[in-house]
């Protein structure tokens, strides 16, 4: 029998809402500041939906902005190129591809193309022979610099005794921030070395070295914009690139003359080699034509096309080196 009874002091069935989380902290494994796609995740991995919606809207606005910018650029080109009726806004609306070549992609693009960001500068190493400077790659380098933050350096390997000064400065002046490598998205290291063929190295674990100026040019071009989605056009670009490097650059005079004739006929139909848009084929053929010295003796369409290429302004590093 109980000793004495006491009335309960408080009701026995009060619902107490115990929190499951003591306090919320931002995720300490958040991605570093320079990455543009950090998701500001909370501690247990959820993402605030409002932020996501805001990001989506921002992406949409940026995309529209860039489309507008492409249109304006196309209009600007009509002022400088001699063929005023071939502006890019007209040509891009004709082609099946949208203006994705200039749409905002940012670092996510580099992540898909080059592999996951390991928190350090992604450095592309190119070994070139100073006797055959790769003009195409210099042009692609200046295009890359416009798209990404690129840290460019030039070195001379010990297998080469000395290199003329214009080859040392072919990538342009040293960037102001070059003391801090981690501030850049991409590294472009050019090494003048006594190699039989041009060679590119990027990731030692996952990639074998890429050899040949044509192949390296394709790799670098894909960092700027994907190949045309139409397989026929893509094959045409590829075949012009190969023609340029094998027949124009290394072929005999007869082969070169034949290439110039086919260039002439192709350029009679289209403003650029692979159709209405400027592509890698134009870059490759321009550089090889200039290298082989047949620019002055080229037929009329080719001369016109050479002028339009120069008007674009990407080819100034190549022209500098040729002097």
């Amino acid at each position: 029998m109980p000793m004495y009874q006491v009335k309960p002091v408080c009701g026995g069935d009060i619902q107490i809402d115990l929190p499951t989380c003591m306090y919320k902290l931002p995720n300490i494994h958040a991605q570093q500041e320079h990455s543009c796609t950090s998701e500001h995740a909370l501690q247990n991995g959820e993402v605030d939906p409002a932020v996501k919606a805001l990001e989506a809207r921002q992406d949409e606005i940026m995309r529209k902005l860039y489309e507008l910018k492409a249109a304006v650029e196309g209009l600007a080109k009509t002022v400088t190129t001699p063929d005023a009726d071939l502006d890019l806004t007209v040509s891009s609306s004709l082609s099946p591809q949208s203006s994705s070549s200039t749409a905002f992609k940012g670092t996510a693009d580099l992540d898909t193309l080059l592999g996951k960001d390991l928190g350090a500068l992604r450095d592309i190493v190119i070994n070139a022979n100073p006797e055959h400077p790769p003009l195409t790659l210099l042009v692609l380098h200046s295009l890359l610099c416009q798209r990404y933050r690129v840290l460019s350096t030039v070195h001379v390997h010990s297998s080469v005794t000395s290199v003329p000064p214009q080859l040392m400065s072919c990538l342009g002046p040293r960037h102001v921030d070059s003391y801090a490598r981690h501030l850049f998205q991409l590294g472009f290291t050019l090494i003048w070395k006594n190699v039989p063929t041009l060679q590119m190295k990027f990731s030692i674990q996952n990639m074998c070295p890429i050899e040949g100026e044509a192949n390296v040019a394709r790799f670098l071009f894909k960092l700027l914009t994907p190949y045309p989605s139409d397989p026929a056009v893509a094959t045409l670009v590829d075949s012009w690139v190969d023609t340029a490097f094998f027949q124009l650059a290394e072929g005999s005079t007869k082969e070169r003359a034949a290439v110039l004739r086919s260039l002439n006929s192709a350029l009679g139909r289209n403003p650029w080699l692979a159709g209405p848009e400027f592509s890698l084929a134009d870059i490759a053929c321009f550089c090889c034509v200039q290298c082989s010295g047949s620019a002055s003796s080229a037929p009329a369409n080719v001369q016109r096309w050479l002028k339009s290429c120069e008007n674009l302004g990407h080819f100034s590093p190549a022209k500098l080196l040729l002097q």
Partner: protein, 514 residues
């Protein structure tokens, strides 16, 4: 009849041989009977003799080329080998890295006794030889002078060696693999180091130390051209500079003192004393009980310290440029020495880039992580990781020399300047050759207040380093620097595997002599 006679070879005597039992008795050293009584029977009187012979020109072995064919010359060299074959005796005469075949045959210029005498000269003895240079049709592969041989007319022993040598020079030069294959002897390192005087005569050792002398010379010349001043710092110091454990103590009158671990403190004081850019070459004493292939207790340190204007990368650029000039100088001027060393110790030629490759620590960690190594962002690199990183950098950039910049602050000494943009990292750098560290350097803290804070953070007794901190109280410019070890740089440049091979008389925890 074994007195060392230093015979006066007056030209008139040569014709006067008919009186003696051996027709050419004057032409070799044992004989002391002559018509002219000026025989010197002891070495100490040779100075009188030497004066009379000061106009004799001794030709160097390295100058014996076909354009001297049919000339009669004198030379002084060591007997490398001597072999009698019937009526002839073949000698190989050696001078440093060069050797030449010489022969004496029984005939009108030489007698049987002379041939026997030549065959019995002990190896390594120093001889004076007068001979005619003759061209040979077939190249003599085993000698450095392959197109000529000497037909000896006179030979005199200047300094005799004992008959039993502690080690044979051919054995000391033989590559290790070859020795095992053919069953021939090679000499192990301890024996070589115990008999260093003989081991240093080998072609390989001569090449190594000539190259080392070249490194020192190029270091000095490059820095003097950049406007540096050479200083000498004291080696007997009152307080351990880097850390307490690894110093040698010496008794200093009534107290004790220490042998300097590095000239760090004094280099910095010179910068505070307005010398702007200094370097010093001198011994460094580290009492580490590490018996490894790359540690010595005493080695030669080449140290640099300089004030900079706006960014410590000016210091890195200066140091790497000096190293590149040294490598270029070695590549262009010391190829013979490099090839000689490669014969015994084959290795890949040393590759480098100009300007030097500079990677950040985070990049190095990323490369290691990509290769499967697990490490934290602020961990120091262990030796195997350093070697792996060296191989990865070699694979990607094809260089054996690079700089790793921006090390984590936690693993550096207290006087290292922290990175202003990221407090976890520091303005410090290491340089690597063939994957092994050769230089550890940094921007130093030049502010006494900050230095005191960092020292307290590292729990260092401020009393012990009071003199060091005081030097920064009266205006110190921002500065940085670093130091390399001469022996280690030579070892890594040549691709050798033990630093004792590049130290003339090495000191380690187990070796104090010679």
């Amino acid at each position: 009849m074994t007195l060392r006679t230093y015979v006066n070879t007056n030209v008139l005597l040569i014709q006067n041989y008919s009186d003696y039992s051996c027709p050419v008795a004057n032409n070799y050293a044992d004989n002391k009977i002559r018509s002219d009584d000026t025989v010197q029977t002891t070495v100490s009187r040779s100075c009188h003799d030497g004066y009379r012979r000061a106009d004799r020109v001794l030709v160097k072995v390295q100058d014996l080329t076909p354009d001297k064919a049919d000339q009669l010359i004198w030379l002084r060299a060591r007997v490398h080998t001597s072999r009698a074959k019937g009526k002839q005796c073949f000698l190989v005469l050696r001078q440093q890295q060069f050797n030449v075949q010489a022969l004496v045959a029984v005939g009108d210029r030489a007698s049987k006794q002379m041939v026997k005498f030549a065959a019995n000269i002990n190896k390594e003895s120093i001889v004076d030889v007068e001979a005619v240079v003759r061209k040979v049709e077939q190249k003599i592969e085993s000698c450095s002078q392959q197109d000529v041989e000497l037909h000896m007319e006179r030979i005199f022993v200047i300094s005799q060696a004992e008959p039993r040598l502690p080690l044979q020079l051919e054995d000391a030069v033989r590559p290790d693999g070859e020795g095992e294959e053919e069953g021939r002897a090679t000499v192990n390192q301890d024996t070589k180091l115990d008999n260093r005087v003989i081991d240093l005569r080998t072609t390989t050792s001569q090449a190594v130390f000539r190259l080392q002398s070249g490194v020192c010379q190029l270091f000095r010349d490059t820095l003097i051209n950049k406007g540096f001043v050479e200083i000498q710092t004291p080696k007997i110091i009152s307080a351990a500079s880097e850390g307490g454990a690894n110093v040698f103590t010496v008794s200093y009158f009534k107290t004790s003192a220490y042998l300097a671990q590095s000239p760090q403190l004094y280099k910095q004081m010179c910068i505070c004393a307005d010398f702007d850019k200094v370097f010093c070459v001198g011994p460094v004493f580290r009492a580490e009980d590490s018996n490894t292939h790359r540690h010595l207790t005493e080695f030669v340190g080449l140290d640099i310290e300089m004030a900079f204007n706006y960014h410590y990368h000016e210091v890195i650029d200066s140091i790497t440029d000096t190293m590149v000039q040294i490598f270029k100088g070695l590549r262009d001027n010391f190829q013979t020495e490099i090839q000689t060393v490669n014969k015994q110790y084959p290795s890949e030629p040393f590759k480098f880039l100009e300007p030097t490759l500079r990677l950040e620590y985070t990049e190095g960690v990323a490369m290691l992580r990509e290769a499967g190594v697990e490490m934290g962002d602020e961990d120091d690199l262990s030796t195997p990781n350093e070697k792996l990183l060296g191989r990865l950098v070699r694979e990607k950039y094809d260089t054996d020399f690079y700089v790793l910049d921006k090390y984590p602050l936690a693993v550096r000494p207290f006087y290292t300047m922290p990175d202003p943009n990221n407090p976890k990292y520091s303005n410090s750098y290491d340089m690597f050759m063939r994957g092994e560290e050769i230089l550890s350097g940094a921007q130093r803290i030049h502010d006494a207040q900050l230095l005191t804070e960092r020292a307290q953070h590292h729990q260092i007794d401020l009393e012990k380093i009071k003199a060091y901190i005081d030097s920064f109280r009266y205006g110190a410019p921002p500065h940085g620097g670093g130091g390399i070890g001469l022996e280690r740089v030579c070892m890594l440049y040549l691709g050798l595997h033990n630093v004792r091979q590049t130290s003339m008389f090495p000191r380690d925890p187990k070796r104090l002599t010679p």
